[in-house]
């Protein structure tokens, strides 16, 4: 990310986490929602699965240490709206996610905190995951503006909705500043809603 918040490129190595429908309870178990800050979440990403796999989860695999691009399958981030899930991944060092598809609230939460989530067809995800597993040191580079992902010699054309791409490239992915600009227009909507300002007499 540049100083003005623009996110145009993400570069680094990758980590594949395979499986469809990986929900946010699995990404960050509910017991970590008991913290009143996000700051300490990083080490707990995928904690229960990692414990069960006894060091065999990709997040515990030394070959993927320091990875910044997470590569996942279908409907990643389903379930709970907990922002703790992308916050945990971000604090673990994940800067972008590439997957076959994403659950909607998770996708929005990622955008709001500056993590681009790009999509590729299932077969290409499969090939990218295998490539990373075989050669974990492969340098990945994501051009957020064009959606091009290069992985060593390979290249993929990923998709990102135009509005989201624009938000990253312009540095306005955290919507709050633009939302704050429309002060008067907000008041106007507030004032015209009968359930707020009073029901017209009949």
């Amino acid at each position: 990310m540049s100083d003005d918040g623009r996110i145009t490129h993400v570069a680094g190595t990758g980590v594949p986490v395979r499986g469809n429908d990986i929900d946010t309870d699995r990404i960050i178990p509910a017991r970590y929602l008991r913290e009143i800050t996000f700051e300490t979440l990083g080490p707990h990403a995928f904690e229960d699965e990692r414990r069960q796999l006894n060091g065999k989860h990709p997040f515990d695999d030394a070959r993927f240490t320091g990875a910044s691009v997470l590569v996942v399958n279908r409907n990643f981030g389903s379930g709970s709206s907990r922002e703790h899930a992308p916050q945990a991944l971000m604090r673990r060092g994940i800067k972008a996610i590439v997957g076959e598809s994403f659950a909607e609230i998770f996708f929005g939460n990622c955008t709001t905190i500056g993590i681009p989530c790009l999509t590729l067809p299932a077969t290409q995800i499969e090939s990218l995951q295998s490539l990373i597993e075989e050669e974990p040191e492969t340098a990945l580079e994501i051009d957020v503006g064009s959606g091009t992902i290069t992985a060593g010699q390979a290249a993929y054309q990923a998709e990102l909705p135009a509005s989201v791409r624009e938000a990253f490239v312009s540095g306005e992915w955290d919507a709050l500043s633009s939302l704050l600009e429309s002060n008067d227009a907000i008041s106007a909507v507030h004032d015209r809603l009968p359930y707020i300002t009073g029901w017209p007499a009949r």
Binding site: D21, P29, I36, R74, S81, A175, L176
Partner: protein, 468 residues
């Protein structure tokens, strides 16, 4: 061409189109709870921003609250810390707060409607994915993340893309022993857990017309489990009758005026939808999940699927689910022994849910090795149930009777599964680890089916048990 309710509500609340192409959408009602809000208040403070309309946000405590302990400070220090945080935040910002002392505390999606805060034609947001529940009244209601909670607090708006609209029509009638929970599980089973991504679901047809508000809430609640962030039913006389006389609903003098506005907001008869799905009500059986997401579901008289039935990654999903659930492919789901039975959660903890469960539990006896608990959705539900004597029915049958909260739906409080216990649950998520033990196994079903399983000690067809 006419408009859908989604179109009309969206237009009425649209502030402007943002440079990124999304809508800046005004949020008419904002609900907050203790778990997803502290960071939002913190972010607000860091940026030196005030709460723009404190009277459009309402707070309660539900997720972490113990349901078997009422003295403060709570034994659990982290729960106590969360309570102190929300108390300070509402105090400093002037947001109305329904804590236990008010008698109106409960699961946020139960108390919003109960207090009459939830009304047709509103936009409603909450840092909780089951906010779709409020769509039962013809509101556009959806879950948001914590940064968006911050946005709503600061501006009463969020940046959001307008979804497409899919009309799901369920015609005919439901059989005895088939409930709203079975309808939504059948829909998710058919369309899949990500079938609704990018869509709002409009539920319509005879079956929804005939449903009570409690039942419509059960259906809308689980829209998100089918991937749809928003689900709604057009408002009608059933909704108006529910609202009349509620604390925050329009008073009698205004009610006719409000009713007119609500009626106008419903989808036009010639509205255009992006997609339509038709289901026959008669085809729906009592449903039970067998896997680790709500789309892995079958009728109680069906057989557990086999990975050999499908190809590719899907095969892996089934195998993975069966491994976790320790179930045998090809075996019937009925007869699966259970260890725990949970009646509760924002899906099924309203008075009508408790009545259905009590009707099945009455006269039965939960076996000694099964732990069964009933957790009402709100203090008001609890009071009402006790006035009807439901607590006595449950206790006599061997259920624990608790205070209001989320409880074993996500097990942030002391109610948790242990090891690989099997839980028959009226909640909405059977994800791995959801009920507090990483190895825990959840079978989602209707409250009546949970009561039947509790008494029988195994998954049982409620149609055979109580209805005959």
């Amino acid at each position: 061409m006419g408009q859908t309710l989604l179109d009309k509500v969206w237009d009425a609340h649209s502030v402007r189109e943002l440079p990124n192409g999304q809508t800046q959408l005004f949020i008419g009602l904002h609900l907050v709870h203790e778990v997803t809000s502290p960071q939002a208040f913190q972010m607000l403070a860091e940026r030196g921003l005030a709460v723009r309309y404190p009277d459009r946000t309402f707070a309660t405590v539900d997720h972490i609250i113990p349901t078997d302990e009422s003295t403060r400070p709570y034994v659990d220090g982290m729960a106590e810390q969360m309570f102190v945080a929300i108390e300070q935040n509402v105090e400093q910002t002037g947001i109305p707060f329904f804590d236990r002392s008010t008698g109106r505390q409960g699961i946020v999606h139960v108390i919003g409607p109960e207090l009459g805060l939830t009304q047709p034609g509103m936009t409603i947001a909450c840092g909780d994915s089951h906010t779709s529940t409020h769509g039962a009244f013809g509101a556009i209601a959806f879950g948001i993340g914590t940064s968006q909670v911050r946005d709503v607090l600061a501006t009463q708006t969020i940046s959001v893309a307008k979804p497409q609209c899919r009309r799901i029509s369920v015609s005919g009638k439901l059989a005895d022993g088939v409930f709203a929970k079975d309808v939504i599980l059948a829909i998710i089973g058919r369309l899949g857990v990500q079938g609704g991504v990018g869509y709002a679901y409009e539920y319509a047809g005879d079956v929804f017309d005939a449903m009570s508000m409690d039942e419509r809430m059960t259906v809308c609640n689980m829209s998100i489990e089918g991937g749809a962030r928003v689900g709604y039913v057009n408002p009608d006389e059933t909704a108006y009758a529910y609202l009349q006389g509620r604390e925050y609903a329009p008073n009698d003098a205004d009610f006719d005026s409000a009713r007119q506005w609500w009626t106008d907001v419903a989808s036009d008869a010639d509205a255009a939808f992006d997609d339509r799905v038709d289901i026959e009500g008669e085809s729906i059986a009592p449903m039970v999940t067998w896997g680790v997401n709500p789309g892995q579901v079958l009728g109680v008289d069906d057989l557990i699927p086999s990975p050999d039935d499908v190809e590719g990654l899907e095969r892996r999903s089934i195998q993975d689910a069966l491994d976790h659930m320790k179930l045998t492919p090809g075996a019937p789901i009925a007869g699966t022994p259970i260890d725990v039975a949970f009646v509760g959660s924002c899906t099924n903890s309203r008075i009508s849910d408790l009545r259905e469960a009590a009707r099945v539990a009455e006269g039965g006896r939960v076996p000694a090795h099964v732990k069964a608990l009933v957790v009402p959705g709100s203090q008001q539900v609890k009071t009402e149930a006790e006035a009807e004597g439901l607590d006595d029915v449950f206790r006599a049958a061997g259920f624990e009777w608790r205070d209001a909260g989320c409880s074993m739906c996500l097990a942030m409080n002391p109610d948790k599964l242990v090891n690989d216990q099997v839980c028959a649950s009226s909640s909405n998520r059977n994800f791995k680890g959801r009920q507090g033990s990483p190895l825990g196994r959840t079978l989602l079903m209707s409250p009546a089916m949970v009561a039947a399983a509790a008494v029988a000690g195994e998954v049982t067809d409620v149609r055979a048990m109580a209805m005959g």
